[in-house]
Symmetry: C2
Subunit: 418 residues, 2 copies
């Protein structure tokens, strides 16, 4: 087995210490470094202040093999990272001619001329490795201090992330003794404790580590294999994933980066099935989730946001007597909403949702969080219910939306629960 | 003028150093401490590790007057904050009888019995101040070390935030020499650079500091007054806010915590105006934004997600000849969608949106990001367009949704641009 080498994430920026923006870079870097097989010992954030930057660099470089830094590489007077690092290392800054030419060219394309502020983005500590930035003006750089390698990258995520993948990730992999491979199973509809029970003994059986990450409304299961060679690590993780999928069945909706709304949409597109929606308690959320990704027009015809009873009757054909007898939040109304949407839109499938998002609206026998949802198809109409407890209004809506999307997925794949 | 006292934010949790969750606590605390008038010198995150916690506490307590800590107060073996702090200070841990009784009672209400793990949540370093937690089982605590006051709170945001407001904020205010008052103006539809131009000279005129925070799709303008007494600080900030509002006009949609969707919804509810929606490129997002907040049923009747042309015709009465002549993304179709929704739903107002969210779909003269939106009322139908450039698909959708909501707000208030 391998031993985890310690790494540090270090973010520079007064906009961070003032709480003006969320530090998504830190989370992203910590996740990626952990996935490579390093142990992130700390995340540090300081303002654009030379003293604070220097003392953090000194401390972090003594106890880590890798320090990954973001921020302070721009053209303004706040951007002091490069000068501060040079001073800390006791070296000069040198202007890099290749980088300078690139800057001039880039500015010229935007119809601008090089200023002194821009030019300083071509100054680097003597001996530094330059990290190219195809997505912005500020290149990054890397230096060494005793046993520690330090990378400095811009704070803009779309510039930082490709730079990390080109330069830092390969260097990080070389620091990990042995090899590792991770597979991430995305699960929905089963609580973390039950997943944990179902996967009992998986670690010992396959020589892997199992981790759970609750990322509402889903839970991700991480299967991490550490071994002497990459082939062995991949084989172990793959065998463990096969075993886990056999145990968890339809609860695993995907591996990798895509979330359920995209998975479901892509499935409909591939199968050539059209969809319409009838949303009450979710108020348009299912439509919004499906249309956040390009290509939704290939399967989504449209929908009705039937927030009031009058709209359920007039736009979806729900019978007033059924509303009266069972209430708007009922299996019967969910069924009529879905059937009505499918008929009126002429779609292959229609999904409906009606429930009590809260915080008020509960009645006897119908608590806050109770949602009925139905899937109308050419052959059958499935009606389900879920009770989303201990979640605020937005949580009830999001969980219910995913339940509906998951029912579509299971029906299309033929894996739906009876 | 006052001098800013240094404070540190310190978050404990392996789920953070592994990048499993975003550290929203750090951002929230840094923002609130800055607003009180302290200078946040650093944000530190370490794993659930006694050595790492101890060395951070030692370092942070030497250079700050306040350290605000979250995490590690739960009942599991990972939760070592209290024991680690006691060891660091060289004091015993004592079981607090009042806290223990509260734990027993809380567990009994959930039908559970006290376990040894639960009971340790009633153990605190000798001499610590107990911070009550009405929203969970783990109380917080505060201790002093030389000139530094250290607060320890749970990591769950809905438990941490009220605890901060009850205990930490008042203590933080006492550390600020002099007084300060901040007013936050929420602006939409005007870029930061233009706001900056319009507010030129505001700082000198009122003796305040002006800060900008771009929080897409809005920009917040922070007016901070520092003075010897609170009365003077409030008077200065208030005068500056009045001046700023006079300069910026309708671009300022609110002061305080509520966002545009809630502001617009509340306005409709107060005026007794009903609304329906016809959403094409936003796919249900406007409905979703309005129904995230309780009380939407008092003004929102419903809507149509008219993602396809056939739905625009069948469900909203858009004329096929108009679609053919002008295209789905046009002022004419936006107008017919809004008028059609208002008639079919019988609402006082109807909002429509149709545009090109991207990344594909652009045509000659109609770039990605172009959105037409219309507000149909009993007396007139207003049609507007916006071109949301340099934003991904979700950004185009969100900005367009806010444009629509802002048009409703301006029309209801009678402040709409001609």
């Amino acid at each position: 087995m391998t031993r985890l080498a310690p790494a540090a994430v270090f973010c520079i920026g007064t906009e961070l210490t003032r709480g003006e923006i969320n530090n998504t870079n830190a989370t992203w870097l910590a996740d990626r470094l952990t996935a490579v097989g390093l142990e992130v010992s700390s995340i540090d954030v300081v303002a654009d202040d030379a003293g604070a930057i220097t003392s953090a660099l000194e401390r972090l470089s003594q106890s880590n093999v890798l320090v990954v830094t973001t921020g302070g590489l721009g053209p303004t007077t706040d951007d002091i990272t490069s000068a501060t690092v040079a001073h800390w290392l006791g070296v000069r800054r040198l202007r890099n001619a290749v980088v300078l030419d690139g800057l001039v060219e880039r500015l010229a394309r935007a119809g601008r001329q090089l200023t002194a502020s821009n030019a300083q983005q071509a100054d680097f500590p003597e001996g530094a490795e330059i990290l190219k930035n195809p997505n912005g003006t500020a290149p990054g750089f890397a230096v060494s201090r005793q046993a520690c390698r330090l990378f400095f990258m811009p704070g803009v995520p779309r510039e930082m992330r490709p730079m990390f993948e080109s330069y830092v990730e390969p260097a990080a992999r070389r620091l990990v003794q042995g090899a590792q491979h991770q597979i991430r199973l995305r699960c929905f509809g089963v609580p973390e404790s039950k997943l944990n029970d179902e996967l009992s003994g998986l670690e010992a059986a396959h020589g892997i580590q199992v981790g759970y990450r609750a990322h509402f409304p889903e839970v991700q299961v991480k299967l991490l294999a550490l071994a002497d060679t990459l082939d062995v690590a991949i084989a172990r993780a793959t065998a463990a994933a096969r075993d886990a999928r056999a145990r968890l069945g339809s609860a695993v909706y995907a591996e990798g980066e895509l979330e359920l709304p995209q998975i479901t949409g892509e499935l409909l597109r591939q199968r050539g099935l059209s969809l319409s929606l009838a949303e009450s308690c979710t108020g348009g959320l299912v439509g919004s989730l499906l249309t956040q990704h390009a290509g939704a027009s290939e399967f989504l015809l449209g929908g009705v946001i039937s927030y009031s009873n009058q709209v359920k009757v007039a736009q979806l054909g729900v019978e007033p007597a059924v509303l009266e007898a069972h209430g708007a939040v009922s299996a019967e109304v969910a069924r009529q909403m879905a059937d009505g949407a499918r008929q009126r839109f002429g779609s292959d499938l229609a999904l409906s949702l009606t429930g009590i998002a809260g915080p008020s609206g509960a009645t006897a026998g119908k608590p806050v969080g109770l949602v009925y949802y139905a899937l109308s198809t050419r052959t059958e109409t499935l009606v389900r219910d879920v009770n989303v407890t201990q979640r605020p209004r937005e949580g009830v809506q999001l969980y219910a939306a995913w339940c509906g999307l998951n029912l579509i997925r299971e029906w299309v794949l033929g894996t739906k629960a009876p």
